[in-house]
Symmetry: C2
Subunit: 112 residues, 2 copies
DNA sequence: CACTATATCTTGATCACCAAGATATGGTGG
DNA sequence: CCACCATATCTTGGTGATCAAGATATAGTG
């Protein structure tokens, strides 16, 4: 699972959202670092719906504009939990290997 | 940065390794979940070398077989640290949204 | 009156990755 | 002694998620 997909599932984890709402929530979640493109978003939603990880929710019309909501499914939540655990282990492995401050000093002899 | 690339940099973070050694170390790091394919590995090493994140190290011949070693560069270590931080934040965000045990119970009213 | 924000979706291209195989040496089991 | 597995390199062809860009439409703002 790649970063945009992970963040889409994360954004849906606590409540149903519509496409544009996902773009803003993913941007907020990632502190502005991930700007979801429409091509990525709608492609991912279709794919995730096919896989049963998200489902269409209600539709609303607000100010003459359609809002099409999506929600995460139980399978989607399981997938997100599994992916989160996977990432957590990778973070732990990398952190252990990198050492506290880094640089060649740590790996070699040093503080003689 | 995707999972195989992240694990290659992680495997190189503490010591220089050759291609086949990376395959076994990445498998060990990921507890058997990531089996690096040669196509992925050598493609990634070439790309990372072009980007200056890894560099060719020494070469050895052991039992008539060539071992070509790669090491992580300072830029590579910086990139790995940045990526690790990024993942750590995403894990934290997902964990917060998912809640302790999960299910619709947590999101809604419950424990009345 | 132009621009920005909100809202949907499509199309074409890229690129990391995967699957599979080619090539070669050395050790092991039958 | 021969097949097979582990070690070790690299190539080729395909897939698929993502990106870049644009099409379409309404409502609010300067």
């Amino acid at each position: 699972m790649r970063e945009p997909t992970f963040l889409i599932l994360t954004a849906l984890a606590d409540e149903a959202r519509h496409g544009y709402g996902l773009i803003t929530e993913v941007s907020r979640l990632s502190e502005g670092r991930v700007a979801l493109k429409p091509g990525t978003l709608y492609g991912a939603l279709d794919r995730l719906a096919d896989e049963g990880l998200v489902a269409r929710d209600r539709e609303e019309v607000v100010d003459g504009r359609l809002r099409r909501y999506y929600r995460i499914t139980p399978d989607g939540e399981r997938a997100l939990r599994a992916e989160t655990d996977r990432m957590r282990r990778h973070v732990a492995a990398a952190t252990a290997k990198l050492g506290p401050i880094g640089g060649a000093t740590q790996a070699g002899v040093s503080f003689a």
